[in-house]
């Protein structure tokens, strides 16, 4: 039915996801080289941060899972996109007014041509 979603679907999808995860885990165990049982492989490794490593200049943050490192993969992959967005927010009042005027002009143009 359109516009509806049964909570039961969520349970099904959750169960399917669990089964998939379990299968993946089993497959990884079988085809692994044994590095997951010994050495560095046993350490919990979240989002690129090594909990035992001390970053120079950040000694007071040692071992905390801080916000700066989570999602580093995403931010690294889309570095250029984010830089464009970040540079665009210049903080100048003039630019804010410029964007307002550009928006007005665009809306007016679209409405006069197609509206």
């Amino acid at each position: 039915m359109f516009g509806y979603w049964d909570a039961l679907y969520f349970v099904f999808i959750f169960i399917i996801g669990l089964i998939l995860a379990w299968l993946l885990n089993e497959w990884a165990k079988k085809s692994g080289m044994g590095t997951r049982e010994t050495g560095d492989g046993t350490k919990i490794f979240i989002s690129g941060e090594d909990p035992d490593k001390v970053v120079p200049g950040f000694e007071h943050l040692e071992g905390h899972f801080t916000g700066k490192n989570v999602m580093w993969g995403l931010t690294y992959a889309l570095k250029r996109f984010f830089r464009v967005l970040r540079d665009d927010h210049t903080g100048l009042l003039t630019d804010y007014v410029s964007y307002l005027l550009i928006t007005t002009g665009f809306v007016l143009g679209v409405i006069l041509i197609w509206g």
């Binding site: 359109f2 931010t75 804010y96 928006t103």
Partner: protein, 532 residues
Amino acid sequence: MNGEAILPYLIIIPLFGAFAMPIVSLAGKKAREAWAVIISALTLVVASAVFYHVWKTKEIIVYTLGAKTPFGQGVGFPIRIVWEVDLFGAIMVLTVAFVSLMAVLYSLGYMKHDTGLEKYYTLILILELGMLGIAITGDLFNFYVFLEIMSIASYALVAFRNDTWEGIEAGVKYMFVGSIAGSFILLGIALLYGQYGTLTMGYIAVKIAENPTVTAKVALALFIAGLLFKSGASPVHMWLADAHPAAPSSISAMLSGLVIKVGGIYAMARILFSIYSPMAHSIVLKAYLQPYINMSAIGWLIIIFASLTLIIGNAMAVIQTDMKRLLAYSSVGQIGYILLGLGIGLAAYGTQTGEVALAGAIYHTVNHAIMKALLFLVAGVVIHEVGTRNLNELSGLAKTMPKTTFAFLIGAAAIVGLPPLNGFASKWLIYESSAVFNPVLGAIAIIGTAFCTAAYVRVLYTFFGRPSERVANARDPETSMMLPMLLLVLAIVIMGLLPWQISDKVMIPTARMLEQFKFEYINALMSLAGGA
């Protein structure tokens, strides 16, 4: 209960409360706080009664100020100011009153160490008054007056902590650009008056349907530009990302939860659907080969801005290190979902897809008001207890502030759209209708959610990390700050347990009433003409 009899108290109570606040606060700190809480609680009671009445009867309340009928003697046009409350307006009234009460309760503890509190409570009540006025008015110039009341109160409140450079700078930017946007709206109103000679929304709708001219189109463009600014859509979202973090947290909750909804989304829906009635222009006039305004093109225009807003807002949220700034950017992203629903509702007008999208947009407006209010209140607690909002220094809050972290977890899960909570239902309506309307839009909406999830996962990881020394002394806050958060969590969970009941019983009728297939908004006004 008679809806028309209690409707005036919706304005009278906060107005009286705000004007009496400087006098009451002479009686001391306790009297001031009690007065603010009593006034906003009474407003909530009246708002619930109004909402219940409109929902029960499914009829638009038309109330005339100062007379029995808005029409003049022996003429067929309105000359007085009218209030018209349809179901969307009533929902906004209820949401505004609820979240404002929460913000006032929260301020009792949060603003304790600030000075100038009588001005603060006055301004917060006036902010509420302005939003209530916008939600119930049926007159175009009156709408502008209340928009300015709301805007001026929020300019002052953003810069309320005048000893921080941040608040002042954000206030300057918000105020100057916001005034220009307000001027655009006033210019649009002036153009409509010059072309059609009236200011009542319902009657302007009649006049525009009779004679859609270029002037009406230019006025519509000015309205859309000004209201896109007020709602914080991209690329004019930058004031929002500066102003909302700079305000005190209780005010941030109101700004992000209510002001951008009522002053932006609600006003835009009112103008697009009630004044430029798409039923008249897209269906009736088109069928009779009369000149008409192409409302589906305007729907596509809004969809373009919505897609931009979705991507930019949610993506910018991912890379913020300031917690409140992250939440503000997330607000921009969520506004994108609401605009997407609104745009599809306009572009696919008359089909079931459009109706579901519109219902989703309205539903998400309410949900987002509650969720974002909760998240900003949590951010306020963190600032209050720890003294910083830099995510890099906040790791391990879960150990020392378990209740706060739980509230944040619920809020974040709801805003990302996890199924047992309320955010899921509204987002699902928008995803599904956008996917049916155009699969590309569905994909854009999903990408936006991916970014949104990334942003909130960052905050949650930080909270659940290993505790740092900075947060070692943090404790869960006092009751007056905890209570509003618990009530909001409760609202999220309860609304999440009954998603389709709310959607069927409230949101779909609201969407249908807003679409006005039978010109309900115009007829409710014009039916009074005979009784004069």
